[in-house]
């Protein structure tokens, strides 16, 4: 199956996405902010569809909206988090805008399906390079931020006494999460970002209580699930997103039962 370029691309894309989703997802789970990833996926749909309409690569529209959305969510803090209705309405409006943009394009349902559920077997070389660049950027930013971010995650009040600026750290981290969401969407689509961003990290933290082993395990699980899912999609002709999500759910269930 490695004779095909699209399979080599799909497996490479899976590994790139896993490298970002493991560490970012570990902090999302630690901070109990997993639904931020879900929300950013919905926002990203509008951005990607808008970019298609404007004739720009959808990845750029996705990145612009998820990063800005993440930074805004972090900066607003609890004022936003406590308002379920407002959050729900913003997400609905974002999805609806995406639907409008796609209908204005009049190119059928294919781009919509690709955005909603991913199209890892269709990743071309330029997209792969863009994904690698974004991965390097998000990992670099996360590495710089991770010290104060970890302290703020486990002891916000104590961190604030030590001089950590909680708002700024939260905004920075959710902007990085926006980058990770944009990456994950390339593989599993906006509706299934949980699968790679949250599933492996949540399973890993049930298997080990040590920080670095949990981050490494989350990354390995995400990579294993994504690559195995792509291979199973090749063998069965079922969607890769289905296999990846099924493997992610199975791993999480196994970790729960352990």
């Amino acid at each position: 199956m490695l004779d095909y370029e699209f399979m080599r691309h799909a497996l490479l894309a899976s590994c790139i996405v896993a490298l970002v989703c493991g560490p970012v997802g570990s902090f999302l789970v630690l901070r109990r902010q997993v639904f931020a990833a879900h929300a950013l996926g919905h926002l990203g749909f509008a951005g990607a569809a808008g970019a298609l309409l404007a004739g720009v690569p959808p990845l750029w529209g996705l990145v612009a909206v998820t990063v800005a959305g993440g930074a805004a969510m972090g900066a607003l803090g609890e004022r936003l988090g406590d308002r379920d209705e407002a959050t729900g309405m913003v997400l609905s409006a974002a999805l609806a805008s995406g639907v409008l943009f796609l209908s204005l394009l009049t190119v059928g349902a294919a781009p919509a399906t690709a955005l909603l559920f991913g199209n890892v077997l269709g990743v071309d070389t330029p997209t792969l390079w863009r994904m690698a660049g974004l991965a390097a950027l998000s990992l670099g930013l996360l590495a710089a931020l991770s010290g104060p971010l970890l302290f703020a995650s486990v002891g916000p009040d104590q961190a604030e006494v030590a001089g950590v600026r909680l708002r700024a750290i939260s905004a920075g981290f959710l902007a990085i999460t926006g980058l990770a969401v944009a990456e994950a969407v390339q593989v599993v689509g906006v509706l299934l970002v949980f699968t790679l961003l949250v599933g492996p990290a949540a399973a890993a933290q049930r298997l080990t209580a040590r920080l670095w082993p949990a981050v490494a395990l989350a990354t390995a699980l995400a990579g294993g699930q994504a690559c195995l899912g792509v291979a199973l999609a090749y063998l069965t002709d079922w969607p890769a997103s289905f296999w990846i999500s099924a493997l992610s759910a199975a791993c999480y269930a196994a970790a729960l039962l352990r």
Partner: protein, 257 residues
């Protein structure tokens, strides 16, 4: 937070504190002596947490100034989020070892030694390998206390650490804090709902009520006249069995108040 020419560990000079547009405390003049164990007492909503957060620099006074010597360790009131934390105690404590420094949270050798030191000080070395979510409330609290002791704080601020503990663990917590205060030479601000658990160890009492504060020894502050002033209603202090009971005065009713 400026560090002025002060002889004590902490000084409030003409401080007023506002929270969410509401004036919580007015005209505070407090000097906390170095190395004192201070009980912060008062009714619900009197401003105990606000005063402690101001001492830590988390709230800026609307007027007056606060001077503090050295760094402070903080044990906040709500440790609720720790119940769900699937991180082991040692990594939880180590998360604070680099303070606010940028970069990967990998403690250097000195920081690792400091983590082991505070784990030993709080009798937490035996539980530090287990996830926080698998520990008892008292074990989690000792680890949070360990994190607050990282570095060399001069002041330790503990917000209602006895809330939610059974009487036996309350006594153990007070004894542990007393031991830390004496061996490390710390100044301690310890807020509590009930005075009596703290009675054996208190050097000073900081009693809040009616937007004001009184500070002094137990004998000076926990008296009918002082508390009546703070509560804005006649109060009485009844000693019984080595304990003090603060109650609304009934005799005042008969006096026609």
């Amino acid at each position: 937070m400026s560090v002025g020419e002060i002889s004590g560990a902490l000084r409030f000079s003409g401080v007023s504190l506002r929270l969410g547009g509401r004036q919580v405390l007015t005209g505070l003049d407090i000097a906390v002596p170095e190395g004192a164990f201070v009980g912060v007492l008062g009714p619900n909503g009197a401003g105990k947490t606000t005063l402690m957060r101001a001492a830590l620099g988390l709230i800026q006074p609307s007027s007056g100034r606060i001077d503090r010597r050295g760094t402070a360790g903080y044990l906040p009131q709500t440790g609720g989020h720790l119940e769900d934390l699937r991180l082991c105690g040692r990594d939880f404590v180590a998360a604070g070892a680099r303070r606010a420094a940028w970069g990967l949270p990998i403690p250097d050798r000195a920081a690792r030694l400091d983590v082991e030191r505070v784990l030993a000080l709080t009798d937490s070395a035996g539980t530090a390998h287990r996830p926080m979510s698998a520990l008892s409330g008292g074990e989690r609290q000792r680890l949070a206390l360990a994190q607050a002791l990282l570095g060399t704080p001069r002041l330790l601020v503990l917000d209602e650490p006895l809330a939610g503990l059974d009487p036996q663990h309350q006594v153990a917590t007070v004894a542990l804090v007393r031991r830390l205060q004496q061996t490390l030479g710390l100044t301690v601000l310890f807020s509590a709902h009930d005075l009596n658990t703290l009675l054996p160890v208190l050097d000073q009492v900081l009693y809040l009520g009616g937007g004001r504060a009184e500070m002094g020894s137990v004998a000076q502050v926990v008296t009918g006249p002082v508390l009546s002033r703070l509560y804005g209603a006649p109060m009485e202090v009844i000693p019984a069995g080595g304990r003090l009971f603060v109650v609304a005065s009934e005799r005042a009713d008969h006096a026609g108040l």
